[in-house]
């Protein structure tokens, strides 16, 4: 009887999902209410979680609660500790949620809301969540080993080395692109710049407070930090209105880029408790709070999506980034549907804290679905803006024109009416000098979020909510920069230690400073090239980041497939091979087009050749000759980086296929590094 009621309930959820998708499909280009999108997403994610993930857990992984997890066997009170399922779910989600699912869907909305929506829905269920879940499972069965270690043990030594180098490269590109998002959000904005600058003394105050005044009181300290952040937000408005102070905090792109580069160096070299850790606590709580607020705001406000389901830019000539819907929609959305970086978290802290094997189901699979839901909310926030406004904010001046009138005319000619007066009014409401050409996704997302939040708290506070959203995005992006630079420094010192053991000591000051400078210079260079790029930087750097991130996902899926084959689960290998094939198709097509496309806006080499021809023909003014040479070099560098990433992953794929073929033919022994079965004696209810 109970089973029958459940069947009826799940059938009703499936029918409701179909009705919601039907409403979206039958809108015929008319604005559609976000309720249908949110409801369809919730239903599809629930079905994927209940049926597909459970099928994988039961048939492929053979999850077994009688088996002791590493948290139980290796319990040490530090890294290995059995943790309550829902607490670990929140912990894991807080670790995987970053700016990717917020910025990616916002940028991909240039194709219309429909492609991004469908990819997030089905990509997360069939790809991203499968990757996270399988990697968590594999690491959990191997004492919490990292992805690189699993690649080395299960595929080959080459696989491990490739994973390590790919991670380092991705880190450099990731740090550059997220820093560019912050630079573009703060450019010419004294309010935003002051608020973000104020987070540095706030974090240092918190660090000292925790270390010396009230040791151990992290929640108390974080609450004080949040209050200080809100004061900084109000202070930012005062700074913006003061002619003297606003001139101090009104910075251009290059100045902001150098500020972030210098900041990155100090964050990497200073003691971790002083700046990085307190900022991380603060950003985690603010991030979770804002995501909950956004969900609540969308549920209450139910905004209408004014952006059409499909725009003409599916043809590859979009103003925000060049490239057709396939493969660039999938590359751009990145972490909202599949993120290779998640595999590092799934094979990091989380597998060491799982109390029961079946807890991996909600933690590994469920958390990624929640991340997909964050992507859907970002898409709704962006698509709720008037299309003309969305394109005016996100299109670089190099495409739409340098003056407000020219930009408005260009965007209106695309069929998305907008006027300079309308944009000026909106900028005034948001407390900004201008909103034209604020590329990078963060400002348009902040604008969308501000409109949703202001409908809950009165229309007069758009400026407050806009800067609140900018502060929220910049706060956790800076935490990524702090932590990423530090990790890059460790990796580099580790490599240097192989040459001379003394160089590998993480406490050796010349090594700390030298390695920090090299890492900061590496991502700082890509950031700088993004800032001076006439096409806005996002056009070249975001796809490069998307390609790198998805290629890491391909490595993670190769590892999971190899392990399934060693578990004699060949008949189910399609579960990881299908998303792997899709990732290979999208990333290699995108990579190939970014390097070799003859279209200068799309292909790195084509743009370099076009600029070289202009220089040779004397069409470049003498004053711009040096900058143009730099852009030519940068395009060639991007092509080389993209090529290296593709080559590294090709090596892993060939290596994996060689191992798979041996395993399937029986010529390679199915030797797995899985830890032997130990019966569990843990009382989970006591956790």
């Amino acid at each position: 009887m109970k089973k029958r009621i459940f069947n009826v309930l799940w059938a009703a959820i499936a029918c409701f999902a179909a009705v919601c998708l039907g409403f979206i499909a039958r809108s015929n280009g008319e604005p559609v209410n976000s309720f249908w999108i949110v409801a369809a997403a919730i239903c599809i994610f629930l079905i994927g979680f209940r049926f597909y993930a459970k099928f994988i857990a039961t048939k492929v992984m053979l999850l077994d609660n009688r088996r002791a997890t590493p948290a139980e066997r290796l319990r040490d009170g530090h890294d290995f500790e059995p943790t309550n399922k829902w607490i670990l779910f929140g912990h894991h989600f807080a670790a995987i949620a970053g700016p990717g699912p917020l910025v990616g869907p916002t940028l991909a909305a240039q194709f219309g809301y429909l492609p991004g929506l469908l990819w997030i829905l089905f990509g997360a269920v069939l790809g991203g969540a499968v990757q996270d879940f399988t990697n968590l499972f594999c690491s959990m069965r191997r004492d919490g080993k990292s992805l690189g270690k699993m690649a080395r043990d299960e595929i080959s030594k080459t696989g491990g080395m490739v994973a390590l180098v790919t991670v380092l490269l991705i880190m450099v590109i990731l740090l550059a692109v997220v820093a560019l998002v912050v630079v573009n959000a703060l450019k010419g904005s004294p309010w935003g710049t002051f608020t973000i600058a104020a987070t540095i003394p706030i974090a240092i105050f918190m660090g000292l407070y925790l270390r010396y005044a009230r040791p151990g009181k992290v929640l108390e300290c974080s609450a004080i930090g949040v209050v200080l952040l809100l004061l900084a937000l109000f202070g930012g408005q005062w700074v913006a209105n003061s002619p003297l102070w606003s001139s101090w905090f009104t910075l251009g792109g290059i100045a902001l880029a150098f500020c972030i580069i210098i900041y990155g160096f100090f964050a990497s070299a200073l003691p971790v408790w002083l700046l990085l850790a307190p900022r991380d606590y603060l950003s985690t709580f603010v991030k979770l709070g804002v995501i909950m607020m956004l969900a609540l705001g969308i549920l209450i406000a139910r905004p209408q999506l004014d952006l059409p389901p499909l725009t003409q830019f599916t043809n590859g000539l979009g103003p925000i980034f060049a490239g057709k819907i396939f493969p660039f929609c999938f590359i751009t959305i990145a972490c909202g549907a599949i993120s290779g970086f998640h595999a590092l978290i799934s094979s990091g802290t989380t597998p060491k804290m799982i109390a029961r094997e079946w807890h991996a189901w909600p933690i590994g699979y469920g958390s990624m679905l929640l991340e997909g839901f964050v992507g859907i909310m970002a898409l709704v926030a962006a698509a709720a803006l008037a299309p003309g406004v969305y394109f005016a904010v996100n299109s670089p001046a190099g495409i739409v024109g340098a003056t407000p009138a020219a930009a408005a005319a260009t965007i209106t000619s695309w069929g998305f009416p907008v006027t300079a007066a309308q944009m000026s009014d909106l900028a005034r409401q948001a407390g900004e000098a201008t909103l034209f050409g604020r590329t990078g996704g963060a400002p348009s997302l902040a604008l969308g979020m501000a409109h949703i939040f202001s409908r809950l708290g009165g229309g007069a506070v758009i400026s407050f909510w806009y800067h609140f959203a900018i502060m929220f995005e910049a706060l956790f992006i800076l935490t990524i920069i702090d932590a990423g630079t530090r990790v890059g420094r460790f990796m580099l010192q580790d490599l240097a230690g192989h040459i001379r053991p003394g160089w590998g000591r993480t406490g050796w000051m010349p090594g700390v400073i030298g390695a920090s400078i090299i890492i900061v210079a590496a991502w700082g260079y890509f950031l700088y090239q993004g800032v001076i790029d006439p096409l806005g930087g996002i056009n070249s750097l975001w796809p490069l980041f998307g390609i790198a991130n998805q290629l890491l996902g391909a490595i993670a899926l190769c590892v999971a497939t190899t392990i399934f084959l060693k578990m004699h689960r060949a008949r189910y290998m399609w579960i990881t091979v299908a998303p792997l094939v899709w990732l290979i198709a999208t990333t290699f097509t995108a990579g190939w087009q970014k390097i070799f496309s003859p279209e200068p806006r799309l292909g790195f080499l084509a743009q370099a050749h076009a600029l070289e021809s202009s220089v040779a023909a004397g069409n470049i003014a003498a004053s711009k000759l040096s900058a143009t040479q730099t852009i030519i070099f940068n395009n060639k560098l991007d092509a080389v980086v993209c090529g290296i990433l593709m080559l590294l992953v090709t090596i892993t794929i060939i290596d994996s296929v060689r191992v798979w073929s041996g395993l399937l033919r029986g010529s390679v022994p199915a030797r797995s590094s899985e830890t032997p079965f130990v019966p569990s004696t843990l009382e989970v209810e006591s956790i």
Binding site: H78, N84, V178, L219, F341, L344, I480, G484
Partner: protein
């Protein structure tokens, strides 16, 4: 009411876990030590060293 209370307790426990306060409590229990400023600093130095061996997710 019970559901709300349970939810609140869960949220508070999650906040303590994210703030590393629970980890500190576990550390004290595991090593049979009592809280002090020096102990907290020792714990945090070890905890943060392992925590930031890994980058933040994108």
């Amino acid at each position: 009411m019970t559901v709300l209370r349970k939810l609140f307790r869960l949220a508070a426990a999650l906040a303590r876990e994210l703030a590393d306060e629970s980890a500190y409590r576990r550390h004290l229990a595991h090593c049979s030590r009592t809280h002090s400023a020096a102990e907290w600093r020792r714990f945090m130095d070890a905890k943060l060293k392992s925590k930031y061996q890994q980058g933040k997710c994108c």
